[in-house]
Symmetry: C2
Subunit: 449 residues, 2 copies
């Protein structure tokens, strides 16, 4: 294999993992990161500080052998805990026994990935380097150093952009003729809040769970941290009846929480300060194509397919990009032009599918998890899947606990929807949902759809 | 009314007409155009040199009183003439008797609109001025003069961007948070060719018609010019089986035309030169929102809603923007913030609708106009519309010959589709399409859909 000189713009989660993959292969890798080194500087990136790691992510971490280390900083979340307005709780397991998604801190995981990449002598990370320009034909990338205030043009064999939803590398690709691009901001934004630990360091709510307060058009969620705290996120429209715009001050914010999330508010002693200080952030969906140019420049992760966070697949899909990139390196060897073409051709439909699935899961989380009919459907599916694992894997499990391509999971999920629509119309379903009759009905529907 | 200082970027068709509208109102208008003055310089803009003007366009021209002058340079096209592969012709009227779309030259019309704008002392047009930057809060726009090579920042009360699909003004708007934007290049591109006049200056094919050679996934069209020539456009995919990529040289181009367009090729003595010299151009669909910022900056025409040319509505929809802008000026007076908000709120769904309709008409033109079932459907619709004008206006007529909002035309068209789907399934339809039975069936379907 020919050793290449590779420039990576962005040392976030995907960039650091990609550097570790390339480093392991022996390539000469230089990573340029806009922000200071998070391992020595406290950074408030304005980004969500908790993430849900699931099977696709774990597989990609396995590929560079750091799953075990990550597992030590992760909290398994085995089920959703739904909080009703009156504080009543209900529960929904994410998968089969022992299947969980894992709450990890963005900062901690990112630091670990950077360390892993830098274990390779042939990998270097430079900080405070803002990407100013990219020459896609050289290729070269130009960075402005915030420290020396100097501009440096870096030539290499390959340039990778893992520089996020507002990627500078993508901005260079867009200038090419016939470049398809869209940025769509959804109507909802988010604000982060927190629930501190008990005095003894324990959690104030069930620890190994993802908590949701579904309220129709908006919702609050909470993910556990190892230090006993929860990170909470309010998802709410920017404008309209229930919206950030309609909560103009702290008094109205407190009133809003007292009305809709009183049990959560009771656990938030820092609510006032956090409400005032923490920003309202926007959520964007990025779609573009192609993802590469002439076998020399390519973009991965949020740079090529930023999605909304509601399926917990933003990081996982970016990490899966690295898995697929490793497969492509094994398949194509030194032919980077074919490699990057094959990569984008295979990966684009999966990126589109998870973008759609993530929006769809938002409706499910904020609205349906409070809906008895929806919960009944989930129970029927779970029972059938347990008895006929060869015939049925719930959509959530395909996305979260399998390595089935997102595009295939979406297609199979649409087929399951058609079947469950008919099942849900059966008279007296609530009393016989776990009966032989329903099971047989589903088997016959599976044969016909 | 308060007289405003207004900067317009772009003196193309929409920019020049908008300047005439503002000039008429007495505003102080400065228009900055990137290209040289087309009235003194021969310009090869790479853009289609023929356009089909229809009712929405005429209405907007009426608003500044220049319809009569434009009519002198326009050729009515009363029907489509379809050319089969063997050269056989078939015909389809565009509307009722005397209803036509009008072939006009882009350059001639643009020059006339610029002259009309400059009739007002308070309107000035500056050429060779490339927009470099826009400050949306001042507002101001910065232009680089190709002549003096100097940069000038122009402050004004309002800045309008009518600078086309790759608008510099829009680029400034995109930088705002939560800006939705997409650029989508369709898989087809186009190349222009020509059919010269006879020696006596007459046309070599039927003059008052739009000629189409529909061939499934690709097509050739021809529009008449007053000098006896036709401007022809080949629409063909960039890549794939039938594609520009698959016609690598002149010999294969001649072979392609001999196979698919032999009657047209016989009328093209300059084919070889034109094939080699004329570029393959791309077709882009632009969608974005919002179209304005703080009542100070706004974009119109292709800058805010570039569409594909297959409904002949690109210019017409841009001109209709001017009509709606005039209505908004009458409604809102000096309150430009409300005016521009109202404008974009009302106009955006119509721009989205005509974007969809235009793509849909591409399928119709290239594929269905050669399809007997489609032509039968059109005949049934035309007959029913003639007998029941209060109940049915064909979609093409709503878009082309009416001022019904595009969004409403699209909705009504979808309703008509449902009805015609049922009608087309009637046994023996070809023999009784003009019968009382079919008429009654349509009346009853109209009541139920």
């Amino acid at each position: 294999m020919e050793k290449k000189k590779i420039t990576i713009a962005g040392a976030g989660l995907v960039g650091s993992l990609l550097a570790a993959y390339f480093g392991k292969k022996g390539h000469q890798v230089e990573v340029y990161e806009r922000r200071p080194d998070m391992r020595t500087t406290l950074i408030d990136g304005g980004r969500s500080i908790n993430l849900a790691l699931s099977n696709r992510g774990w597989k990609a971490l396995d590929g560079v052998g750091i799953s075990e280390e990550v597992r030590k900083m992760a909290i398994p979340m085995y089920r959703r805990v739904m909080h009703a307005t009156d504080g009543a709780l209900s529960f929904q397991p994410y998968g089969k026994e022992n299947e969980a998604i894992y709450s990890v801190s963005r900062g901690g995981l990112n630091a670990l990935l950077m360390r892993e990449a830098e274990k390779h002598e042939n990998v270097q990370i430079f900080f405070n380097q803002r990407c100013e320009d990219v020459n896609t034909s050289a290729p070269s990338a130009t960075f402005f150093s915030e420290e020396t205030e100097k501009i440096k043009e870096i030539e290499s064999d390959l340039v990778f952009g893992t520089d996020g939803a507002f990627s500078a590398i993508r901005t260079a690709l867009i200038k090419n003729d016939r470049y398809n691009y869209s940025q769509h901001f959804i109507e909802h934004g988010y604000k982060e809040l927190s629930i501190p630990a008990n005095a003894d360091g324990s959690h104030k709510m069930e620890r190994e769970a993802l908590h949701i307060w579904p309220r129709g058009n908006f919702m609050l969620i909470a993910l556990p941290n190892p230090d006993g705290t929860f990170t909470c996120t309010l998802f709410l429209a920017h404008e309209g009846e229930y919206s950030f715009e309609n909560i103009p001050n702290l008094a109205s914010a407190r009133k809003f929480f007292e009305t809709h999330f009183s049990d959560a508010l009771n656990l938030m002693p820092h609510f006032d300060k956090e409400w005032v200080e923490n920003p309202v952030s926007s959520l964007v969906i990025i779609r573009c194509f192609p993802w590469s140019k002439d076998g020399k420049v390519a973009i991965l992760g949020d740079a090529s397919h930023a999605i909304v966070p509601f399926y917990g697949q933003g990081m996982n899909s970016g990490f899966e990009d690295c898995t697929v990139m490793a497969e492509m390196m094994a398949k194509h060897g030194d032919d980077w032009e074919s490699l990057l073409k094959d990569f984008e051709q295979q990966r684009k439909p999966d990126a589109d599918a998870i973008a759609d699935l993530a929006m769809r899961n938002f409706v499910e989380m904020r609205d349906l998890t409070g809906n008895p009919e929806f919960l009944l459907r989930k129970k029927i599916e779970a029972r059938f899947a347990a008895r006929h694992p060869d015939k049925w894997m719930p959509l959530y499990s395909m996305v979260t606990f399998s390595h089935i391509r997102y595009s295939e999971a979406l297609k199979e999920g649409q087929r399951q929807d058609k079947i469950m629509e008919e099942v849900m119309m059966i008279d007296g379903l609530a009393d016989k949902w776990d009966s032989e009759e329903i099971e047989q009905k589903m088997i016959s529907l599976l044969a016909s759809k």
